[in-house]
Amino acid sequence: MLSMMVFAPVLGALLLGFMGGRSPQALRSVATVFMALPLAIVVLLLATYHYGAGGLQFVQRTAWVPAWHIQYFLGVDGLSLVMLLLTAAIGVVATVASYGIGDRVREYFVWLLLLQTGILGVFCAQDLILFIFFFDVVLVPMYFLIAIWGGPRRQYAALKFLIYTFTGSVLMLVAVLALYFLTGRQTFAIPALARLAPHDLGRGLQLLLFAVIFIGFAIKLPMVPLHTWLPDAHVEAPTPVSVILAAVLLKIGGYGMLRIALPLFPQAVHALAWPIGILGVVNIIYAALAAMSQHDFKKLVAYSSVSHMGFVLLGLALATPLGIDGAIFVMFSHGLISAMLFLMVGVFYDRCHTRELSRLGGMYRTLPLAGTLLAFAALANLGLPTLSGFVGEFFTLSGVFATYRVLAFWAAFGLILVAAFNLILMQRVVMGPPRTEWESLAPVSARELITLVPLLGGVVLLGIAPAVLMNVINGPAAAIAASLGGR
């Protein structure tokens, strides 16, 4: 079942590669079908997962490279499931949003489908080498998606993305192999290592290996000061790819920390809780300030992502069920909101061909529907109660307040800045007098609405009834916290 889900997009890519010179229409339909397939399977998994039992389910496990005790080991728990749901759903949204791509359609969808397989694989892999395998598989399609279909500085941005992430992953490989030999347990299986590694390694080694693996994921998350690839990559990527980058790819960083870095090195997490928390707060504040000073619509949204990932770091540093719940919730909710925001950037860019905030304005009047949707996304992004952005941040902050008052204060201060840049965004784009140059813009199309409305629905649903998501993630969050000795 899991293999089917992970490799369905590859089948789609092969089919696209070998089917004859069909119309773009046919290519798009094939891509959509093979993107929708994983979504259907994830929904089925969510419905049949045994929540009472918890833990890894739907496990597939066979020896892959016996010489190195590498296993082909797939399995999902609640954490994996919500990430898979996000990935599969955003995959469909991005595919539909890609219907506007007119250049080299076949190649585009081949890369998009391969990318999807990589991401789905990352969220299912329960063997460290298999995890790195999928983690790296993601890089190549993403490189080409940015480098071929991106904006003017796409080459630079794509290469920077590739080098940053690959450096992190190959250093992670060194750490993982060191872990393998130091524990001497002859396994790369994450559950087994989470049980055994903490006892096998001394404190110093834990700190060292944790630091390397943490940095690998921190590049992906991204964490200030390792974030500089992100504004470039997000700005240059075509809209659907920006959506995947922000909504899903960044989550690999947070997911990796939760799945690997925390459970395997509990002592290191405890020792480094303060620094990680401080880095989280720095992330929130620095990126919010950076976002405030942007003149480019897309760059502002990109920095907003960096800022929100600060809350994930903060939640992790807490190492309590509440904090980890909050971190996962922020990740999921940010996936929906950032996808909306990037889609809105696309909506305006396709019409105005500029992302200069100073040239936009008055969109409430000229494009009422688009203006409203953007205002909705920005408000969700700033953490308005009853929308999903609020819930995760609230959980994280209330957890932080109990343990680290100083950090809670500064994180709350960061939230003010987050609110400020979102309001600036709204003010620049949707408020003000309508501009004459934008008078005759086409209204939001049905296709654009199809991509935006489900996201909007998700944001509202999670804002009103967070329990829907909480019920799924409480179990794994408690398990991770328990592995850290938190209560």
Binding site: P66, A67, D136, A147, I163, F166, V170, V174, L177, Y180
Partner: protein
């Protein structure tokens, strides 16, 4: 004397002789048949190799040993030679050159490499090396009327001859010290000579052998001849030299350094580690500035040599088998890249990286294969290179040389810079106006397909080859 053990070598050199003998009598139009005869001979030699008993015993007066190591490397050389034959047929014929002569040289060179693989004695090892080297000098200069090829041959000859002389000098010193030419006896003799008054001579001898073999595998700082020779040599020959000549150099190094886990291994280790890290860094950093694809791959091969040296430096069974695995991965990756380059340069001699602009649209299949090979060089998963680096990094960490593992990691990240320039050129840059689709002959297509299968198979299901390289490594460690 029992010559049964060396039938594969006899067959390959016999085919070489046959081709030279027939060459004057076969018209240019029919020379393509030489290719098929040569392939048949290589296949036969491969089957004979597989049919031989692997006992680890020594035959022919101890000159030759039939262990897993010699078995595997004979097959590696035969496979590499067969792939080079496939990818060179059209290249040579299209330039109106004498295919019979070319293939016979290839057979003799391969025989030399195979002799090195089975040698357990420095004398036969040296003879094999010379047979390989002398044939290679001529091969490098095979396009006599092109100045680049001319220069390549001469440079390769002068530097190679110097290295051979140094090797011979070093070996004669070891003979003087120990009175032995058999490799296991010789390493033990050297180890005990270390504790006598002759220690400086031992170091001199060891240093000379090491430096000479570093020349042969083009490890920095002994690599300066390689970029010129590799750039100027005919494209299929460049692939052959990078794979067979360098792997043969490693065969000699592995035999000498690691036989019986050489009592000297602890002494070689730090030197090899320094050589490894220096070589990979010099290769990768210099490759960043290259504009010609063959020259870039020349520096890339230097970098790859640095990675393999890590396996030797750690001097553990894991290190040896990782090095052997990586050599196999390197074979498929390099020959895959050269199969594409040779297929492209059958008609179009342009070797500048900019000549690859838009290849993704002109010839998607070739571009896909070259991209997979580049990914394998970088070490991206689902390719042979990833599994190879996994093994090498693992060996380095396990062998207590974690800093070498970090060196591999950092260097892999640097190498993206140049490998990916080529991928970008192929897929992103627009095709030139006059660039049409590239016609590929059946032989060329076969070589491309086989190497692609090799790279992907090793990347996804490496178990069999991990087992083989472990088994082969065990052969020399005994």
């Amino acid at each position: 004397m029992n010559f049964g053990a060396v039938w594969p070598e006899i067959v390959v050199s016999g085919v070489g002789t046959l081709l030279v003998a027939l060459d004057p009598f076969v018209s240019a139009a029919r020379q393509r048949w030489f290719g098929y005869v040569c392939l048949a001979g290589l296949l036969l030699a491969g089957l004979l190799t597989l049919g031989e008993p692997v006992g680890g015993g020594s035959v022919l007066g101890g000159m030759v040993t039939l262990d897993g190591f010699s078995m595997l490397f004979r097959l590696i050389f035969l496979a590499a030679a067969a792939l080079v034959v496939l990818l060179s047929l059209d290249f040579i014929l299209q330039r109106g050159k004498d295919l019979g002569e070319f293939l016979s040289l290839l057979c003799f060179a391969t025989t030399g490499a195979m002799v090195m693989a089975i040698s357990r004695d420095v004398v036969s090892l040296y003879v094999g090396l010379e047979l390989l080297s002398i044939s290679s000098y001529v091969l490098a200069a095979f396009l006599r009327d092109e100045s680049g090829s001319h220069e390549a041959g001469l440079k390769y000859l002068l530097n190679g001859a110097l290295a051979s002389a140094i090797l011979l000098f070093g070996l004669s010193l070891t003979y003087g010290l120990t009175g032995q030419t058999s490799i296991p006896a010789l390493t033990h003799g050297l180890a005990s000579a270390l504790h006598t008054g002759y220690a400086p001579v031992v170091w001199l001898a060891v240093g000379m052998v090491l430096a000479a073999l570093a020349f042969k595998i083009a490890a920095a700082p002994f690599h300066l001849w390689a970029p010129d020779a590799y750039e100027g040599a005919p494209t299929p020959v460049t692939g052959y030299l990078m794979v067979v000549a360098e792997t043969a150099g490693f065969v000699a190094l592995l035999r000498i350094v690691d036989t019986g886990m050489g009592p000297l291994a602890a002494h070689w280790g730090p030197w090899l580690a320094g050589l490894a890290i220096f070589t990979m860094t010099v290769g990768n950093v210099t490759a960043l500035w290259q504009r010609n694809i063959k020259r870039m791959l020349a520096y890339s091969s230097i970098a790859q040599v640095g990675y393999v040296l890590v396996g030797l430096a750690v001097a553990t069974p894991g290190g040896v088998s990782a090095a052997i695995f990586y050599l196999v991965a390197y074979l498929f990756t390099t020959l895959g890249a050269f199969a594409v380059i040779a297929a492209l340069s059958v008609r179009d001699p342009g070797d500048a990286i900019t000549d690859y602009a838009g290849l993704g649209r002109r010839s998607p299949a070739l571009a896909v294969v070259l991209t997979v090979c580049l990914a394998s060089y970088v070490g991206i998963p689902a390719t042979a290179g990833f599994m190879g680096k996994l093994a090498l990094i693992g060996a380095a960490v396990h062998g207590g040389m974690a800093w070498l593992a970090v060196g591999i990691a950092v260097n892999s990240a640097i190498s993206i810079g140049y490998y990916w320039t080529v991928a970008r050129t192929m897929w992103v840059d627009p095709a030139p106006a006059d660039g049409g689709a590239v016609a590929v002959s059946p032989a060329g297509a076969t070589s491309v397909a086989l190497t692609l299968v090799g790279v992907v198979f090793l990347g996804i299901l490496p178990q069999a080859f991990f087992w083989l390289s472990h088994w082969a490594g065990a052969g020399i460690l005994r």
